[in-house]
């Protein structure tokens, strides 16, 4: 088992190399070099500045060199062993060094800072959705399996496929338009993760001099309601179906027949024996839900203007901000591969029939 894990981890590197190379050369061959720094606030260009700004950035980020060299430079940047670079851009000595993700061309800040600001937000969004997804999926799945063929079961199976088919973009737009708009009902905020005053709020609700202050926690929670709903309705429908199918499959198996023959009550059969075995299917799915949700949160973040990693990725592709795109790809790919390995490991641990030797 240990050897298997080591082997998978080692095999991760060529895959990561492939992922980053694919994205890098795609970006490198796309038309349009630096775009962002040349615009002013209303999207107008200022006359006469373009050539100077361009020349400066090309020299500083080495955009004139052949593409393979640029890719090699980036690899050198992120590896802990490589050439250190001097302040004026030339290569220094070879050896151990701090890996760095580079600097964003458009925002002039280290990419690490940008990721450190946005990754927690995306993770927050997804990790809050997961309990809802699982809770809803498991409970609904059990109830519909228990009353198989009843009205609850029929209603659920009709609606679960439907809710899985609802496009996230439609759900987001409708929710914002109807529930977060002054024209109709304004129950939720339009966008963003915090109100502008949130920085000055304490964590928990307080009565302050200016009146009731709902506190940072509740403010964030209120802003997160609609995005979490958008992110979780599809996955919870999928999980319901999975849970139901898994329970039904188990209800037909031998050991359940034995338990019933022994005289165990139906309730006990369901909750003590079948439930745990049915969870197996869910566990294996668990590890692939996180990368799927991270992909789905790109859309949700764009619609709700939440400054997470998905939005960072989309914006940086539009501005051709190469370093940020590569960093986002690297992290996204890493998460995806790690969750694949995790899924296989959990599967092996949970089901003793599976072995990787």
């Amino acid at each position: 088992m240990f050897a298997y894990i080591i082997r998978r981890l080692l095999l991760m590197f060529p895959t990561l190399l492939g992922i980053t190379a694919l994205v890098f050369f795609t970006m490198a061959f796309s038309p349009g070099g630096i775009g962002g720094p040349l615009l002013d606030r209303s999207g107008n260009m200022r006359g006469g500045q373009q050539q100077y700004i361009r020349a400066y950035y090309e020299k500083r980020y080495g955009l004139n060199q052949p593409k393979l060299v640029q890719y090699a430079r980036w690899l050198n940047l992120i590896s802990p062993i490589g050439f250190r670079s001097n302040d004026d851009g030339t290569l220094g000595s070879f050896g151990l060094k701090w890996p760095s993700l580079g600097e964003s061309m458009q925002q002039h800040r280290p990419v690490m800072d940008l990721i450190a600001e946005s990754l927690p937000i995306t993770l927050l969004l997804n990790l809050i959705s997961i309990p809802f997804v699982y809770g809803f999926g498991v409970v609904t799945g059990i109830i519909s399996a228990r009353h198989r063929g009843g009205w609850y079961d029929t209603a659920t199976s009709l609606s679960q496929l439907a809710s899985w088919s609802v496009p996230t973009i439609w759900a987001g737009v409708m929710l914002i338009g109807l529930l977060a708009n002054r024209q109709y009902i304004k129950l939720f905020p339009t966008s963003g993760l915090h109100e502008p005053e949130a920085v000055f709020m304490p964590f928990l609700p307080h009565f302050m001099a200016r009146g009731w202050n709902c506190g940072w926690l509740f403010d964030t929670a209120w802003h997160l309601v609609l995005p979490v709903v958008c992110l979780s309705y599809g996955s919870s429908a999928f999980l319901t179906k999975l849970m139901r199918g898994s329970i039904l499959e188990n209800l037909d198996s031998d050991y359940v027949r034995t338990a019933r023959a022994k005289g165990v009550a139906e309730r006990d059969v369901l909750y003590r024996h079948v439930f745990r075995n049915s969870l197996l299917a869910l566990i294996t799915v668990a590890a692939s839900i996180l990368p799927a949700m991270i992909g789905g949160s790109v859309v949700v973040e764009s619609i709700f203007s939440i400054p997470g990693m998905g939005k960072l990725g989309v914006d940086s592709v539009q501005f051709r901000d190469r370093e940020v795109v590569m960093a986002v790809t690297l992290i996204g790919g890493l998460i995806g591969l790690l969750s694949q390995i995790l899924r296989d490991i959990i599967y092996a641990m949970a089901d003793p029939r599976v072995s990787y030797e």
């Binding site: 999207g43 373009q50 302040d87 925002q107 002039h108 915090h194 745990r276 539009q318």
Partner: protein, 616 residues
């Protein structure tokens, strides 16, 4: 096997996880409180220092004598006449915050290294320049410098610096700081490529004595004075402590002599969601600024900005910091409750910039001439474009048609020019003269092939999309197939730089007095110069060069008028319109006036005592 993982264990784990989460959050909260306490401490320290200094000065009687200290020119408050007038209004009161919004967090507040508009807005409250422009007469009035002379050959400028000016940390402002500022900007390693290019023609900057600086230019250029006089002056004592690389990588090193200051001049970091706050500079050498603080809230979503204004959370919605679109403006003007407590304006300001159709005169870079190489064709296209209708239908009337690159509100434009009217019949005649005749329902060029082209524009702009769609329909009536070609910004830039496009629907930002050299001079066709329509006319070149070299305003304007007439005749662009600046301001801000360059600056505003909202 039975006891592997029970429901009990699951809840136990959940409980532990929740506990850990709560502990972590509590720690964070404690951190934030601590940070606030630190800030309060810093402020208290500074106030204590101020108080002790004032006390010392009072003891020496220095405060009294400062007002009678003669400077070389007029009264010490020269240049602040308008501000003083507003301070003498009957309901004038100091205090309160002025709350505005920004649509993006500025990446850096350190001066000059980022050419973002958001940074410039914040920096304008903190830095002072040698001179400023009177918003109505457009003349230069004294600021840091109280008098200046221009040499006869218009190459040397001498500035006398006002005495008694200090930066917000108390250090005096002298000629050393001016020299330091310009040396820093022209330092090759400093990350301000565009700004450096403006100072190409500047020669040595020398300090004659502590309050006298001399600038020598290599060639006479009409913008030399403006560039030099409008540059914010940095403190040598503060900025020379940092190496160039530190400055390039820094995010918030901002200190100046202006009316407001950054409370923490070294430690600012861009934090999404945190407003940017400037506090009053108690040591400001001019009239005491009215507001306690200037606050900019960061609201990215335009709908959220509108909502914040309508809720009364912000005071300003408009202008430089991102205002309503024409449709939004109309909607807000129909809201009676909103109108009762706000004022709104649709102003024509010179810095708004203009929209244009750029006709590429060669196919690709230096290719064969296109049909637009003939000025008659270009004139005809202008006459086929109903610009009034575009302004009326697409911009709801919040724009005005222009006929040249110079803003009609400035002396640079020739007021006698009458633009080409919308006249399809005359256009057809002109086209026939140029050899374009109708064959069937298509208009064909002199080479016999039907005229068709693509209109390139930036796909992220709704207004441009509608204009391009309108042009498609309008030109179809004349038998021309004009297909809109939206492109992403980066891709569009690439097309423009390679001169691979047919027609460009674009916009330039404006200026009180713009220099058409970069856009219309033939030397800017090569490389990545901004003459991407590849327009080359020796007459125009000569006129532009002549005007650029004249430093005397009154002599230069007639030459610009000549250029304007040439623009009108040749129509290298079809100049479409200039948008109006749409502003909404909460009524609690008094002292707001309309000037020729837009609304007057916030230095002249105040909030009367009864309407003040934000108390410390």
């Amino acid at each position: 096997m039975e006891n592997r993982f029970g429901i009990k264990d699951f809840f136990l784990f959940l409980l532990i996880a929740v506990l850990i989460g709560v502990v972590f959050l509590a720690m964070e909260q404690y951190d934030r409180q601590w940070a606030m306490i630190q800030q309060t401490n810093n402020l208290l320290n500074q106030q204590t220092n101020d108080l002790s200094q004032i006390r010392r000065l009072l003891e020496r009687g220095a405060y009294v004598s400062a007002t009678t200290n003669p400077s070389i020119a007029a009264s010490p408050m020269a240049g602040f006449e308008r501000v003083i007038k507003s301070h003498q209004m009957p309901d004038y009161a100091q205090g309160d915050d002025l709350v505005d919004t920004l649509s993006v967090v500025p990446e850096k507040l350190t001066p000059y290294i980022s050419n973002e508009a958001a940074s410039a807005i914040v920096q304008s409250g903190v830095l002072d320049s040698l001179c400023a422009r009177d918003p109505n007469t457009l003349e230069w009035i004294p600021q840091l410098s109280d008098s200046w002379t221009i040499s006869k050959d218009q190459l040397t400028f001498d500035f006398q610096i006002r005495r008694g000016v200090t930066f917000s940390d108390g250090s005096p402002l002298t000629a050393d700081d001016v020299v330091f500022t310009f040396d820093l900007i022209r330092n090759d390693k400093f990350e301000d490529p565009a700004l450096r290019s403006y100072l190409d023609m500047l020669g040595p900057v020398t300090k004659i004595d502590d309050y006298h600086v001399r600038f020598v230019f290599k060639k006479p250029y009409f913008k030399s004075f403006e560039t030099v006089a409008g540059m914010g002056i940095l403190s040598k004592a503060f900025y020379s402590k940092y190496s160039i690389d530190d400055l390039n990588n820094s995010t918030g090193l901002l200190i100046g002599s202006g009316p407001y200051r950054l409370p923490d001049p070294t430690g600012w970091r861009p934090a999404p969601g945190t407003p940017i706050i400037l506090a009053r500079n108690e040591r400001f050498w001019g009239p005491v600024p009215s507001f306690n603080r200037m606050v900019w809230k960061i609201i990215e979503n335009p709908a959220a900005r509108a909502t914040a204004f309508q809720n009364g959370d912000t005071d300003i919605f408009g202008g430089q910091t991102g205002g309503p679109s024409p449709d939004q403006y109309d909607k807000m003007c129909a809201d009676a409750a909103l109108l009762a407590r706000t004022h709104h304006w649709a102003l024509a300001v010179p810095s708004e910039g203009y929209f244009y159709l750029g006709w590429n005169e060669k196919q690709g870079r230096d290719g064969k001439p296109t049909v637009f190489a003939d000025p008659r064709v270009r004139r005809a296209m202008t006459m086929l474009t109903d610009r009034e209708r575009i302004v009326r239908d697409i911009l709801r009337g919040y724009a005005f048609v222009i006929n040249g690159p110079f803003s009609p509100m400035t002396p640079q434009a020739d007021p006698t020019i009458k633009g080409w009217p919308y006249d399809p019949v005359a256009a057809q005649k002109l086209l026939a003269e140029a050899g374009c005749v109708m064959q069937g329902d298509r208009l064909c060029g002199p080479d016999g092939k039907p005229i068709e082209f693509k209109i390139l524009y930036n796909s992220s702009s709704e207004i441009r999309k509608r204009i391009a769609s309108y042009l498609h329909d309008a030109y179809a009536v004349a038998g021309i197939v004009a297909t809109p070609q939206p492109q992403e910004w980066s891709v569009m830039l690439e097309s423009i730089n390679n001169r691979q496009y047919d027609v460009l629907l674009g916009a330039w930002t404006g200026d009180i007095e713009g220099d058409p050299y970069q856009i219309f001079h033939s030397s800017q066709i090569a490389g990545q110069g901004d003459n991407f329509i590849q327009y080359s006319d020796p007459k125009m070149d000569a006129v532009i060069e002549k005007a650029r070299a004249i430093v005397d305003d009154s002599l230069r304007m007639p030459v610009w008028h000549e250029a304007d007439r040439l623009f009108h005749e040749d129509e290298p662009y079809t100049f479409l319109f200039m948008e109006k600046d749409l502003d909404f301001i909460d009524d609690r801000c008094h002292g707001v006036e309309v000037t020729k360059t837009g609304l007057n600056g916030s230095l002249e505003w105040y909030v009367p005592q009864s309407l003040q909202k934000y108390h410390d």
